[in-house]
């Protein structure tokens, strides 16, 4: 049995009175593609943000690659991680955001090369060569000199994917990466992600409302509701034979709203 690359163990996340994640546990195997689905406010985006260390946890423990994410061992006792530990852990993880979050003052190429140059000390020439091949892969090589403001949403998101890949993370987190796109631009981004899933052994976690895509893309689907995983399994099972009433209700609503399954 391979060691899971992500182990989420009994974590809770509270914002004041509000409990966003409620004693949540799940494992992810290396290379696994996971789709997180569920109604808004169910905590699926929060768990992604936590894995990227953009949010802290209130209790529980997360291990990435066997190492605690938010804790470190000091004299055999787990203590809260310092910035240096978080920095080390973040090298394993990359994230793509719903609103792209490109750096508007940097060209497409500079968006992709900035992090490798600054955080890994990669030489500019090497960083640019690697960036160009990534931009090639996402079909954006021709726009390398363009500024983000000149791009469409779909193009921005493809650049954002290349930017995250440039750091060669072992785990990629995709947070509703097509939700902010015009419908005709969704396809180009999903195609890039399909290619990624096919050609790399990267571990991928994806929060999405595109049920058809989740169905084709994922090895496993986690259905979230009210801060818990209500049901999980292979996409065929979850989408065709959901056991839980809440899963059935959610899928019915989604289909009624016109999403493909």
């Amino acid at each position: 049995m391979v060691q899971p690359i992500i182990q989420v163990d009994g974590i809770s996340k509270r914002f004041g009175e509000l409990t966003v994640l409620d004693n949540l546990s799940f494992d992810v195997r290396p290379g696994e593609k996971i789709a997180l689905i569920g109604p808004s406010g169910s905590g699926k985006t929060t768990i992604l943000r936590i894995l990227m260390t953009l949010e802290s946890i209130s209790s529980g423990i997360i291990r990435v690659d066997g190492e605690p994410l938010f804790h470190m061992l000091r004299n055999d006792v787990l203590v809260p991680a310092n910035e240096r530990h978080l920095h080390k852990m973040r090298t394993k993880i990359g994230m793509v955001f719903q609103l792209f979050n490109l750096f508007p003052h940097k060209s497409v190429l500079d968006n992709v090369t900035l992090a490798p140059i600054l955080t890994k000390g990669v030489a500019r020439a090497d960083a640019e060569r690697n960036a160009m091949s990534l931009l090639e892969m996402v079909g954006m090589a021709e726009k390398a000199k363009a500024m983000p403001v000149q791009l469409s949403g779909g193009q921005k998101q493809r650049v954002a994917i290349a930017r995250a890949l440039a750091l060669k993370p072992r785990i990629m987190l995709f947070d509703e990466v097509t939700s902010a796109l015009d419908p005709e631009l969704v396809e180009e981004v999903l195609n890039v992600m399909k290619k990624l899933a096919r050609e790399t052994d990267m571990t991928m976690l994806l929060v999405t409302h595109e049920m058809g895509f989740a169905h084709d893309f994922a090895d496993r689907v986690l259905f979230f509701d009210r801060g818990r995983i209500v049901e999980e399994g292979p996409p065929k099972e979850i989408f065709n034979h959901p056991k839980q009433e809440r899963t059935q209700g959610f899928l019915k609503k989604i289909i009624a709203a016109g999403h493909r399954v």
């Binding site: 990227m52 955001f97 979050n101 900035l114 600054l118 983000p148 000149q150």
Partner: protein
Amino acid sequence: MIDWAGYLQLMLAGALLTVELTVVGAVVAFIMAMAAGLGRMSRFWAVRAIATSYIEFFRGTSIFVQLFWIYFVLPLLGVSISSFAAGVMALGLNVGAYGAEVVRGAFKSVGKEQHEAGIALNFTSWQRTRHIILPQAFVIMLPTFGNNAIELLKATSVVSLISLADLTFQAQVVRAQTGSTLVPFLGVLILYYAMALSISWAMRLLERRVTRGLDGVRT
């Protein structure tokens, strides 16, 4: 017969000192504004306290009083500096205190998502500030910095009170020596205005350079 050429030279020499005070004062003001503006957002309580005290003190007392303290009172405490240095310090510290709030406001106006992208790409906190937030915030600061620079230029005239021979001081000299009021004061008016115009023009040029690609971001 009045030797206007000689008096004009005197006023131009004064104008040169005014330019020097403005440029060096602006450099001091910029450094203080950045340091105090960032200091106010520090995660360390003591740094925030020092930055806030500086800003409140130098905004809350007049530049006359600050200049007199630096030039006349500090020597009593054993610290004496040249009149030029005193002028530059008073101007820089005073305008820097206003500038610090501009810096803080500009940094706050860059969206949280830019910070988050920086964390996701594993930048250190300083790298995020330096490479992601500052370049975007700087564009927002520039127009107000232009205003502040012009304010600083006009405030330089207070140094005539500690006998620095700046433009205002020389105009008074010319007026006293020639008995003419119109000519020196018209000269002062034109020279200050020309300097202020060059600042506006330079700032616009700078703005155009740094806003490349940010047209969608500026609000």
